[in-house]
């Protein structure tokens, strides 16, 4: 057959990904994140196909078409239904890799005034319909450095939710060093999701997250968080680890220890882009991390089969998303239904872009810049990204964290795809041996 040169030279979009499991060969169809078990005939035909067009044709022959995506590019920008407030753009820790550059985003430390916080909440509830879901999160810097404003904004939002019959989720990400027992009561009363940044148990954490004076923060944090761990009913207290090449060895052990402390979930993410380049993961460290995460994943699988808990958040989220077939044209809601509010009342694509003028989305005063929203969503769509538009994982991955990609590019694709392939096969195993696990998630 004669093929035009462009077909031979240009990378063609992969319509899906074929992979083996102990329970037979499967194919993930990128469009619609649909997962199928396939016959050996199908596998052979897929493997023998010399290009992606032929694989697309094979899928079509088996009755699998695409659910078109183009419409999304043209749709009007969504209403903002998630906001994060940088209530304190300052911090008492001196983490080596912090995206907020020790909390102040490289500028003078400041607190968000009450007036801005209340106004941001009003913006969140603009034109709300009964039953709609919204989320309000408090970030920084260290948000507990501005406790009164955090509490007032949360109360204001709870009042709104009650009056409008909307479903509000409140969350806070804290370094844990300033938590007092009254915070526990407040978070419990309002059903907060509390995320504590902990980069491991003990020394591993202290190396990366010291106080500004240099001494370790781990024991202080654990002492302050333990009462909350016992108190959690409506509130959920989770740990989040940032992994650097220095801490990658022993990630599984750290996850085990944090789970043993009683956290609701333990999640992690690799450090991919830091302001001064400190602690960024290289391909070798990412490959090691993948190995550690698969071990955590296997511990999770074993727990699910036994009917016990091993709440490793990364795999739990993946199971939910694969089961539902989450189709994600963007990696997250940033710049769409989610925006970050700076202490000065300006709006940005997310909490990481605070005070970055290239990702400005208007202000509390002038309202959301919907033209910028539309532009951002169009430009950042995974089909517009390279090499994402040809990648089989594009609609599960969404193209990677905007902040990291814009600053550093995409050094972690093999890691992302490796993790997804593991999760897809774990899904097939759990679905077969403990299908009831998915009962609660749909």
């Amino acid at each position: 057959m004669f093929l035009p040169l462009s077909v031979l030279t240009e990378q063609q979009p992969r319509p899906g990904h074929l992979f083996p499991t102990e329970l037979g060969w499967h194919v993930l169809v990128a469009n619609g994140s649909r997962l199928y078990r396939v016959t050996e005939d199908f596998r052979d035909a897929w493997q023998e196909a010399s290009n992606e067009k032929l694989r697309e044709a094979l899928l079509a022959e088996a009755g699998i078409g695409s659910i078109t995506e183009e419409r999304l590019l043209e749709s009007p920008p969504p209403a903002v239904r998630a906001l994060s407030l940088a209530v304190a753009q300052k911090c008492n820790l001196g983490c080596t890799y912090c995206y907020a550059e020790q909390g102040d985003f490289g500028r003078a430390p400041k607190n968000m005034p009450l007036e801005h916080a209340l106004r941001a909440v009003d913006l969140l509830f603009l034109n709300i319909q009964p039953g709609e879901s919204l989320s309000l999160s408090f970030l920084g810097g260290e948000p507990l450095l501005n406790r009164p404003v955090l509490q007032a904004a949360a109360r204001h939002a709870s009042g709104w939710a009650l009056r409008t019959n909307a479903k509000l989720s409140l969350s806070v990400t804290t370094n844990g060093t300033l938590v007092v027992p009254e915070d526990g009561d407040f978070f419990e009363e309002h059903g907060f999701a509390v995320t504590v940044s902990l980069d491991g148990a003990g020394e591993a954490h202290d190396r990366q997250r010291p106080f500004r004076g240099g001494e370790g923060s781990y024991s202080r944090i654990v002492q302050r968080i333990e009462p909350l761990l016992r108190q959690q009913r409506r509130m959920q207290v989770s740990a989040r680890m940032t992994v650097t090449p220095d801490s990658v060895q022993g990630v599984k052990e750290s996850v085990d220890s944090l789970i043993a402390l009683g956290f609701h979930t333990v999640g992690l993410s690799p450090m991919l882009s830091s302001p001064a380049g400190h602690g960024e993961m290289d391909p070798e460290a990412l490959a090691r991390l993948l190995g550690e995460m698969k071990e955590c994943g296997r511990a999770f699988e074993a727990a699910v089969i036994r009917g016990t808990r091993y709440p490793f958040l990364n795999v739990m989220n993946a199971m939910k998303e694969i089961h539902r077939g989450t189709h994600r044209p963007h990696p997250c809601g940033a710049g769409g239904s989610y925006l970050g509010v700076s202490a000065e009342g300006k709006l940005f694509a997310c909490h990481r872009f605070v005070d970055d003028p290239s990702a400005g989305f208007g202000s509390l005063e002038s309202g959301v810049d919907t033209a910028q929203q539309q532009r951002w969503l169009r430009e950042r769509h995974v089909e517009q990204q390279s090499p994402c538009k040809t990648c089989w994982a594009r609609y599960l991955c969404g193209g990677g964290c905007h902040h990291e990609v814009i600053r550093r590019g995409r050094p972690s694709c093999d890691y992302i795809r490796g993790w997804l392939e593991y999760c897809l096969s774990a899904y097939v195993r759990i679905k077969t041996f403990q299908p009831g696990y998915f009962g609660a998630t749909n």
Binding site: Y36, T39, R324, G436
Partner: protein
């Protein structure tokens, strides 16, 4: 011939699965059955049994029947109108112009389409919600009714799939109110609803950029009949005439004209 049978594993795969040999219209995305009686299945029927104990009409909020063995305070709902569920009304005020180009005004109350009116209550599956009924005698009664689960779950494993729950429709119910092309609906529904196979504007002639012709349903389509597309009921075939004799009355169209 190679065996390419795929086994859909996750929910989107199940939802979008088209068995080999089935036409595109079996998929919810390309079917026309979500708010009208479709040609493949009538999706409206999935809402009839969404509230445990009662059976609703597929299009109107009237209680057609009750489940066997229900207590008397449920039996008495037979014939009553369901007017709100969990605080959401099932009836709305229809607004629009009464005549072409006329002012927008209230055109009276009508029942909302179920998929829009009831979708929200599925988040309460397994729970009781407050349902308000209006009896034929115009009194209002309130009952707490349990919302059925929408998707089928295997009892043993609690494995939920993208299949419609068995309790929501008994065998035959999803197709019982399909379009009946050769009966009422062929006359009832506007021409735009039908695939190209249903003729509409026939015996058409064009002169000076203007067309004239007959409605295919017009009783008199002879050469002598005035060539104007009529919607005047008295000039159209009745349902009964069509039931009795459609094959002689509705002629094949050859080159856009009634066969002779």
């Amino acid at each position: 011939m190679p065996n390419l049978t795929l086994d859909p594993t996750n929910l989107t795969a199940q939802f979008e699965h088209r068995g080999r040999g089935n036409p595109p219209s079996v998929l919810p995305l390309s079917a026309i059955s979500n708010c009208f009686p479709g040609l493949e299945f009538d999706f409206r029927n999935v809402w009839r049994r969404v509230l445990e104990g009662i059976v609703l009409h597929e299009a109107v909020g009237v209680v057609m029947d009750v489940d066997p063995g229900v207590p008397a305070n449920i039996t008495e709902l037979r014939g009553a109108f369901l007017v709100s569920v969990d605080g959401d009304p099932t009836i709305g005020d229809v607004q629009g112009p009464r005549t072409t180009g006329g002012a927008v005004e209230s055109l009276g109350q009508d029942f909302l389409e179920w998929s829009n009116a009831l979708a929200r209550i599925l988040t309460h599956a397994g729970e009781e919600v407050r349902c308000e009924f209006q009896t034929q005698q115009n009194t209002t009664i309130t009952r707490m009714l349990k919302v059925r689960r929408f998707f089928h779950a295997d009892e043993l494993t609690n494995n939920r799939t993208a299949a419609i729950g068995k309790d929501l429709a008994t065998p035959g119910e999803l197709t019982q109110s399909l379009c009946s092309p050769w009966q009422n609906d062929y006359r009832e529904c506007g021409c735009y609803y039908w695939a190209a196979s249903r003729p509409d504007y026939v015996n058409v002639e064009t002169a000076g950029g203007v067309t004239s012709g007959h409605n295919w349903m017009a009783r008199d389509r002879s050469a002598a009949a005035p060539r104007a597309y009529t919607l005047n009921n008295s000039l159209l075939f009745t349902y009964d005439e069509l039931f009795q004799n459609w094959e002689t009355l509705l002629k094949f169209q050859i080159d856009g004209r009634d066969e002779t």
